[in-house]
């Protein structure tokens, strides 16, 4: 017992001050990309051809974050002249169309606070997570939100065991055919009103699995999402920021 207390004192207080104090992610971290539309045409085309998930539209010089797996290949191919990843982790959006980035909109993406939801639930959100394909990195980094550093429960947000206790379902993975029914049943078991969150590029578009016949290219084909959180996987901060903004706990 003594050693436990001693260790507790030594470990100190490890929870971050976020959102009061901004967290700076490392230089190499690939967050929100910036796009240079004046880049040489051929370079853009080469990027578009090589992009593993067809996230780049060469004629519009745009990039769809809902498809991007943040592999960095376009930045490498264009040597940063077309795409450059920034350290901005705020990549969530409440409108799917917003995820298509054009040049010079390196502003934060919009997440509109759900006023109705805010009023109804105050500052609390119970989330039932459903894993439906994918690679489990998304799930692993959601679990991290429960560790002392992020400590998501200090915001009234909790991951719960039963859909019956949930206000939201958060889906990861491209939705495998074998998980389709279980996902729908979980959704149905969640009482109204409820929101649906697509977390990770897989759940938005199928991600790297897009096109495989054993999955459904993401959530859209069966459920309408209220909040999109791109990333492969999204950094825990990206998820946290998106949720806090959706609940109006942090403001624009």
């Amino acid at each position: 017992m003594f050693s436990i207390i001693k260790n507790r004192i030594k470990q100190g207080y490890k929870t971050s001050k976020y959102p009061l104090k901004e967290i700076m992610l490392p230089e190499k971290y690939r967050g929100l990309p910036s796009i240079n539309k004046d880049c040489e045409k051929n370079t853009i085309i080469t990027c578009a051809i090589n992009c593993p998930t067809q996230a780049i539209n060469a004629s519009e010089q745009s990039l769809d974050l809902g498809r991007c797996v943040f592999c960095g290949l376009c930045e490498e191919i264009s040597d940063g002249t077309f795409i450059k990843f920034t350290r901005n982790y705020k990549t969530g959006a409440s409108d799917r169309r917003q995820l298509t980035l054009y040049s010079d909109d390196l502003k934060d993406l919009e997440i509109s606070t759900n006023k109705y939801f805010k009023k109804l639930f105050g500052r609390s959100l119970q989330i039932r997570q459903v894993s439906a394909g994918g690679c489990n990195a998304c799930e692993a980094d959601l679990n991290v939100l429960n560790t002392p550093f992020f400590d998501i429960s200090r915001f009234g947000i909790q991951f719960v065991a039963s859909p019956r206790h949930a206000d939201a379902i958060m889906v990861t993975g491209p939705i495998t055919r074998n998980m389709k029914n279980a996902l729908i049943r979980t959704f149905e078991a969640t009482p109204d009103p409820k929101i649906v969150i697509a977390s990770g590029t897989c759940s938005i578009s199928g991600g790297i699995f897009r096109g495989s016949s054993e999955q459904l290219n993401g959530l859209d084909s069966i459920l309408k999402a209220d909040l999109y959180i791109p990333g492969c996987p999204p950094h825990p901060l990206t998820v946290l920021h998106s949720l806090l903004k959706y609940l109006g706990i942090i403001k624009s």
């Binding site: 992610l25 593993p52 690679c135 489990n136 679990n143 998980m179 790297i208 699995f209």
Partner: protein, 503 residues
């Protein structure tokens, strides 16, 4: 005994026509003899070449791989009854290539999908129906027997799978694990993808094993493309693989602590795991090492500043890890839950073909880094961590020992870095009509990729075997005669991958 097999090294490429061919009956006998005589199976799968379905068997004994091939029959008398090691492989053959193994004790679909050839389904499944399809769960009858079904959606943030327990009172008589919910069709998809997408798909086979998968893939591709890798990159790859191992092992110790409500250790280890993921983030921009390793080398280097920083950080973390472990492993409450729980005796672990920390905790001496070393592991000495008690405690201790050993390896490698330039994308062309088997010690154990190319150097077959493919059955067996309340703890002491298994 292995004279009918070609003997090669890990990562060595051979021409397909160098692989000894046997008539099926002879192949059957030979394969069975090897399996019964201390050779372990790394692969046993089928592929289609010019409308002919072929079987490939890859065995390992000590430091070598042994390979042979035959033409696949439509059906044959099962091997599983003679050696349980074939159990999942034969189910997979039936599912992927409609090869029926007669009298197989449990011929049930493994991942629930239609076969690759468009043949009549062996299981009689209609895949528009829900998994598990046209097959009952194993069921025990009797007045006091009851069944408990859990999943596919579980209570925590974890992957989907279904567990069916047959219990008498609180005691588990039998556990059946039905997977396949994570099946994304990766082996089929690989054949359709453009080259630039391949490494990314490979990294998403199992995200917590991104680095090991990427390494397996890269070494296989390099072998087929005849590309030499600079030693500097080999060191960086070693660092990456060991970081992945530590992060996951530390996370596992935390999860085990959490499961028995020893929340202090759970919280500390949970946080420390994150520190290792953050090191990866700093080096390569992704917490799981996605985008780090590519054929030809590594996309990222570790500079002098980072090296100093990491060395200091690792020293501090090591101290913390040890302090917490002292607290954990000396706590009577912890010991009473960990010890004698979920035992898998050595000979059973061996018969089942278990791998990785789980096997080493049952006192089986095998670590790919030691037995089949490639890359930097050829130059450093590896201590294989084993334990004798075969229980949850042993599995925790093996992980703990491996964490400390990996920290030492990283320290040595960091100190030996010289600082060369990162590689550009190598534009690889693969040698035609060839086969390569690449094996790595992922944190869960033996991970292997096998690639076969066609006459144009395109990939004809890409077989992935995650250590979980071997080990899920171990969890089921470990649960027999245990209390159902010990399941979560045992499960965490295995911590197997659903997506790695389901592909």
């Amino acid at each position: 005994m292995d004279k009918n097999f070609i003997k090669i090294k890990n990562g060595e490429n051979i021409k397909v026509n160098q692989i000894p061919y046997m008539e099926f009956d002879l192949f059957y006998e030979n394969v069975l003899q090897l399996a019964l005589n201390g050779y372990s199976i790394i692969h046993y799968f089928a592929y289609n070449d010019n409308f002919q379905t072929r079987l490939i068997a890859v065995f390992r004994k000590q430091n070598f791989l042994y390979i042979a091939t035959t033409d696949a029959p439509d059906e044959y008398q099962n091997l599983t009854e003679k050696s349980i090691k074939f159990h999942n492989y034969e189910r997979e053959l039936a599912e992927e290539f409609a090869i029926k193994t007669i009298n197989h004790p449990w011929l049930k679909s493994l991942r629930y999908h239609s076969n690759f050839l468009g043949k009549t389904d062996v299981f009689g499944n209609d895949y528009s129906n829900e998994i598990p399809g046209n097959y009952e769960f194993y069921s025990i009858t009797g007045e006091e027997i009851h069944e408990v079904g859990v999943g596919p959606v579980h209570a925590g943030i974890i992957e989907p799978g279904h567990f069916r327990f047959n219990c008498i009172g609180e005691k588990i008589l039998h556990l059946e694990i039905q997977l396949g919910y994570q099946h994304r069709g990766i082996e089929k998809q690989i054949l359709q993808l453009k080259k630039s997408a391949l490494p990314i798909l490979i990294e998403s086979v199992a995200g917590d094993t991104s680095i090991a998968n990427s390494l397996c893939f890269s070494e296989a591709i390099e072998s087929l493309a005849n590309v030499e890798v600079n030693e500097e990159y080999e060191k960086i790859r070693g660092i990456a693989l060991e970081l992945e191992r530590i992060a996951n092992h530390v996370g596992d110790l935390g999860a085990l602590s959490g499961d028995i409500a020893f929340l202090t250790a759970a919280a500390y280890y949970g946080r420390i795991r994150g520190e290792f993921l953050n090191i990866l983030l700093e080096v390569c921009g992704n917490r799981f090492g996605k985008g780090f390793i590519r054929p030809g080398g590594s996309k990222f280097l570790i500079n002098i500043n980072q090296r100093r920083l990491f060395l200091n950080k690792l020293k501090k973390l090591k101290k913390e890890i040890i302090e917490i472990a002292d607290m954990l492993f000396n706590n009577a409450g912890v010991l009473s839950r960990f010890e004698s729980t979920g035992i898998i005796e050595t000979d059973i672990a061996n018969d089942l073909g278990l791998v990785g920390p789980v096997a080493r905790a049952s006192n089986l001496f095998y670590d790919v880094r030691y037995d089949l070393p490639t890359g930097i592991y050829r130059n450093i000495s590896i201590k294989v961590a084993t334990e004798k008690n075969c229980d949850v405690m042993a599995r925790a201790l093996v992980r703990y020992k491996e964490i400390l050993h990996s920290l030492d390896i990283i320290e040595t490698l960091l100190n030996n870095l010289e600082g060369t330039k990162p590689n550009k994308n190598i534009n690889y062309s693969l040698s035609p009509n060839s086969l390569v088997v690449s094996v790595q010690e992922a944190w869960r154990g033996e991970l292997s990729h096998c690639i076969i190319t066609d006459p144009d150097g395109n990939i004809l077959r890409y077989k992935i075997k995650d250590p979980s493919f071997n080990n899920w059955i171990g969890l089921a067996i470990a649960m027999r005669n245990e209390e159902i309340s010990d399941f979560p703890l045992c499960n965490k002491s295995f911590n197997l991958s659903y997506c790695g298994h389901d592909l």
